[in-house]
């Protein structure tokens, strides 16, 4: 009793200096929240509020004109029997599985090529980076639509090499998605720059040691550079996977908003847009938004679990 009382008094009546510090700290906390006011308002009004509303709408039938009608899990159940939903999920998975690894492999390769003492590295880096700035623009999607069209640049170049092709690559269900994968690979610049930054962090002594031990270029890459770079690869993998889930513009433009031909470019986000803002099935679109969030969460979690088997953090064994 006495001890706790002493402790209590000690806590309540500290030496003036500590008391001053506590007051200062409380004041600092208040100041911090003043700085945070705009962000916190934004968080409630534009993020959490809408998320709650979206969750509610996902359990309703809502067409924007009439009041929302509660339908329980109907929207979620509908996904299992909605052929276009299933197709859009398939298209998105195929897109991610192809586009992300290809883009990252290319980005890593180019970063390795650029990570040398050669003249003009800055210029090359700039040129390789440019497409990733433009890749999500409508203008480049318009260009892609022409390049892979019937009389597009690709068929013209093929003609120069004596191959006569009148295929519309964006117009054929077998190849349309591949042209979008290619667009994503083409925009490999930003992961490349992250790889470059990572490569610069690898200490020269480590590479020197590998060379002294008689490791050739390939073995140095496989056993020294790759493990040291694995956290960066992981970081890029997580980011690019999430970006690819959200891809929208190129599919919208090359298909004229339809997701065609034969729904072969019906990205998940495109179908969500069509349902929510084309057919005004806003309850269903909300449910799709939540499933997307869930899918991103699950894939990210799986990536984190798998990363234990291949991502190497230098301080692990110390």
């Amino acid at each position: 009793m006495l001890v706790s009382e002493v402790a209590y008094t000690a806590r309540r009546r500290p030496s003036p200096r500590i008391g001053g510090q506590l007051a200062l700290r409380r004041k600092e906390g208040r100041t911090a929240y003043i700085f945070l006011v705009p962000w916190l308002i934004g968080l409630v009004v534009f993020v959490f509020g809408p998320m709650v509303v979206s969750l509610y709408l996902s359990f309703t039938d809502y067409d924007f004109l009439r009041p929302a009608k509660f339908v329980g899990l109907e929207n979620y159940a509908r996904m299992f029997v909605d052929g276009r939903f299933i197709k859009s999920a398939e298209v998105t998975v195929v897109y991610i599985v192809l586009a992300v690894p290809l883009q990252l492999a290319f980005a890593l390769l180019m970063a390795l090529l650029l990570n040398r003492q050669i003249r003009g590295v800055g210029v090359y880096r700039g040129v390789f980076y440019l497409p990733s700035l433009l890749g999500s623009s409508v203008a480049v999607a318009v260009l892609w639509d022409q390049i892979f069209g019937t009389e597009g640049l690709v068929n013209q170049i093929l003609k120069v090499f004596g191959v006569s092709s009148s295929t519309s690559w964006v117009g054929s269900p077998d190849t349309a998605l591949l042209t979008l994968v290619l667009l994503n690979v083409w925009a490999f610049g930003s992961p490349m720059i992250i790889f470059l930054a990572g490569l610069r962090q690898i200490p020269q002594e480590v590479l020197e040691a590998a060379r002294v031990d008689g490791a050739g270029k390939v073995r140095t890459f496989l056993y020294v550079i790759l493990p040291l770079l694995s956290p960066i690869i992981f970081f890029n993998l997580i980011l690019q996977t999430i970006f690819s889930f959200k891809a929208f513009v190129p599919a919208f433009i090359v298909s004229g908003g339809t997701g065609g031909p034969s729904d072969s470019t019906l990205f998940y986000t495109l179908y969500l847009y069509q349902e929510g803002f084309g057919s005004f099935r806003m309850g269903y679109a909300s449910a799709m938004g939540w499933v997307l969030l869930l899918a991103i969460g699950i894939v990210t979690a799986i990536n984190f679990v798998l990363s234990r088997f291949w991502v190497f953090y230098g301080d692990e064994n110390q």
Binding site: L133, D145, V249, F277
Partner: protein, 289 residues
């Protein structure tokens, strides 16, 4: 650095020098391949439509500006109007991001407060949050407020730090600035608002430049949100207008489409050329797109 490079060069055996030449050749081929479609688009925008369908080279032959004249006037309003609309939204977004994100970042980088770790996790979480989860309710809310078909849904949220990327970017940058500077100011009697405005802001100019450039490019390129919130043709942004050139049933005027595409990419290209240093810095510290 330069001494090291010089030694390296002097000590380079002939084989390594040859491999450097090969690297250059490989890089050059790849670089040309990468930008070829873009250059071809620019050159093609100066050709007539027949040649666009038959000339895969980038050697200019007959130069004509007729595509630009036709494209500019192809839609309901002159293309300049769409560019101005985009510019208005972009300038508003840049201002909003700069103010709201730097204020938020200061609290996270320099101040101690309750629930800091939790809020930091929330901040990072919102970076990953797909906007598709919130877009339907946002539409409902904004329409209840009478904001549909105005630029408010595109600009106002930026004043409330919704682009958490930039908060993170500025936090990362602030962390590299020595605390002694603000401590000295604090001893001199400066409050945090003075420290923020007179000491921090001038020191984080590079991060603010990166924020401004990325804000510009992202907002300028943004298609999804304007597509949802704008439906009056006179208020269309440049990307919305470009979309109108593509007619899925065929009969696209490619010359005109290319010409307006080139015009809409010029500002992005200029920011890229003059802001590359900031862009590279921004990507390497945060991993933004």
């Amino acid at each position: 650095m330069s001494i090291g490079a010089a030694t390296a060069r002097r000590g380079t055996p002939a084989g390594a020098r040859r491999s450097n030449v090969i690297t250059h050749i490989v890089l050059l081929i790849l670089a040309v391949g990468m930008v070829y479609p873009l250059i071809w688009m620019v050159i093609s925008s100066l050709r007539n439509n027949n040649e666009i369908f038959s000339n895969p080279t980038i050697f200019p032959s007959s130069v004509t500006f007729s595509n630009y004249v036709r494209g500019w006037n192809a839609l309901q309003y002159p293309f300049g109007q769409y560019l101005l609309n985009s510019l208005l939204i972009t300038v508003g977004s840049i201002a909003g991001n700069l103010i709201s994100c730097s204020l938020t970042a200061y609290a996270f980088a320099r101040l101690r407060f309750r629930f800091k770790r939790l809020l930091m996790a929330v901040l990072l979480g919102t970076i990953m949050l797909p906007e598709h989860v919130t877009i339907v309710p946002q539409y409902v809310i904004f329409s209840a407020m009478g904001w549909i078909n105005t630029y408010l849904p595109l600009i106002v949220p930026k004043f409330f730090g919704v682009e958490a990327f930039f908060v993170f970017l500025i936090i990362q940058f602030m962390r590299t600035i020595p605390r002694e500077l603000d401590e000295a100011a604090s001893i001199d009697g400066c409050g945090h608002f003075r420290i923020f405005s007179s000491i921090m802001v001038p020191l984080i100019m590079p991060a603010l430049a990166t924020t401004a450039i990325f804000s510009f490019i992202w907002t300028w390129n943004d298609f999804f949100r304007p597509l949802i919130f704008i439906s009056t043709p006179s208020m269309d942004t440049a990307p919305l207008a470009l979309n109108l050139f593509i007619d899925p049933t065929g009969g696209v005027d490619w010359g005109a489409a290319f010409a307006m595409s080139v015009i809409s990419l010029i500002p992005v290209f200029l920011f890229f050329v003059f802001g590359q240093r900031f862009l590279v810095q921004g990507i390497s510290t945060t991993g933004l797109k």
